[in-house]
């Protein structure tokens, strides 16, 4: 399924991006996608992302990574309460998002 970010990426005009946009994209790519991780302890929320940018796979992969982490965390939380239907609903919501 194509995410909204991938759609934007496909139409992105890289030449038209401002240097400050690229700088922030690079920061996102580094800070969200790599670095030391204490196993299982990444705690982030994508509910209120205010970073709206065009272009570059880096942002797509960063957001996908965030969704992946959040999905795992919610799955674990739902399993402890024994609610499988809640997991499915959350996954469906993320797929749509």
């Amino acid at each position: 399924m194509t995410s909204p970010f991938e759609s934007v990426m496909a139409e992105a005009d890289l030449e038209g991006l401002e240097e400050s946009d690229l700088s922030l994209l690079e920061t996102l790519d580094h800070v969200l996608n790599s670095g030391l991780v204490i196993a299982g302890e990444i705690t982030i929320s994508v509910a209120d992302i205010d970073l709206i940018f065009v272009g570059l796979n880096v942002l797509v992969s960063s957001v996908e990574k965030a969704h992946e982490v959040l999905r795992d965390r919610e799955r674990r939380a739902a399993m402890t309460t024994g609610s499988e239907s809640e997991v499915s609903a959350q996954e469906a919501q993320h797929e749509m998002g």
């Binding site: 890289l14 690079e26 800070v31 670095g35 991780v37 204490i38 982030i44 970073l51 982490v69």
Partner: protein, 250 residues
């Protein structure tokens, strides 16, 4: 109360300026554990929102240290209890110190190579299958032939893109190899951003690296380059592989 972790350093002189605030405007302090210093700030247990301010704050703390020494940066969003952090540092001490030794005096430089549909690379991959299609249409025809033709076009296109991407990767390494200590390269032939490379470069070799990179860029005007740095070595901070290999953990 939990801790938000920014970086690990083995430099006893490492300092975070008081004026530098962390995620959520929190103050940053150094926590000593084993022979290591960890930059942390107080945090509650709630997830950290990926906002521009928070991402920039995370990077700002690490960069304030990085100006003077090379720390091992944590990824955005590490929130742990103090006991858990100490336990992690104790159990991973050897791997962390080995990695800090590798990174000492070095920085990360980023090179991303982008090809556009109009630059001739993609046009080249489309030209061959079209010629083959015309030939098959005249000799075979039918739905089966059309299906096989589509698969053949897909295969040839993929192979040509992969070959071209590999060629770009090798060329870049050849041009910059003498000034880089280590590299992490991601090749994605089907994507617009075809090569993403992180180079570990000695601070003292930055001038030479930039000179070689500028020469290389001039050689390939058909490609678009996004170059940035120096960065704290985010792409070289993952110690999991070394830890698993050393201690036989899977």
């Amino acid at each position: 109360m939990k801790l938000y972790a920014y970086f690990v350093s083995d430099d006893p002189g490492v300092r975070v300026p008081e004026s530098v605030t962390g995620v959520g405007g929190s103050s940053v302090r150094l926590m000593k554990a084993e022979d290591l210093l960890v930059g942390v700030s107080e945090s509650d247990d709630a997830p950290v929102a990926i906002t521009r301010d928070n991402v920039v704050a995370h990077e700002r703390v690490i960069r304030s240290v990085f100006e003077h020494t090379t720390p091992l940066p944590f990824r955005f969003g590490n929130i742990v209890g103090e006991g858990q952090l100490r336990s992690y540092l104790h159990s991973h001490q050897e791997a962390l110190q080995t990695r800090l030794l590798l990174l000492r005096g070095r920085v990360e430089m980023s090179v991303k190579v982008i090809w556009q549909a109009s630059n001739g690379v993609n046009a080249e991959t489309e030209a061959v299958p079209v010629a083959t299609a015309s030939y098959l249409d005249q000799t075979e025809g039918g739905a089966g032939a059309a299906f096989l033709m589509a698969k053949r076009r897909e295969f040839l296109g993929d192979k040509m893109l992969a070959d071209k991407a590999t060629e770009i990767t090798s060329w870049l390494k050849e041009r910059l190899g003498s000034s880089i200590c280590k590299e992490q390269v991601s090749v994605r032939p089907r994507d617009k951003l075809v090569v993403a490379a992180a180079h570990l470069v000695a601070r003292t070799s930055l001038g030479r690296y930039r000179g070689e990179l500028n020469k290389a860029r001039a050689e390939r005007p058909e490609l678009h380059f996004l170059c940035s740095g120096p960065w704290p070595p985010y792409s070289f901070a993952n110690i999991d592989l070394e830890f698993k290999t050393h201690f036989g953990v899977s």
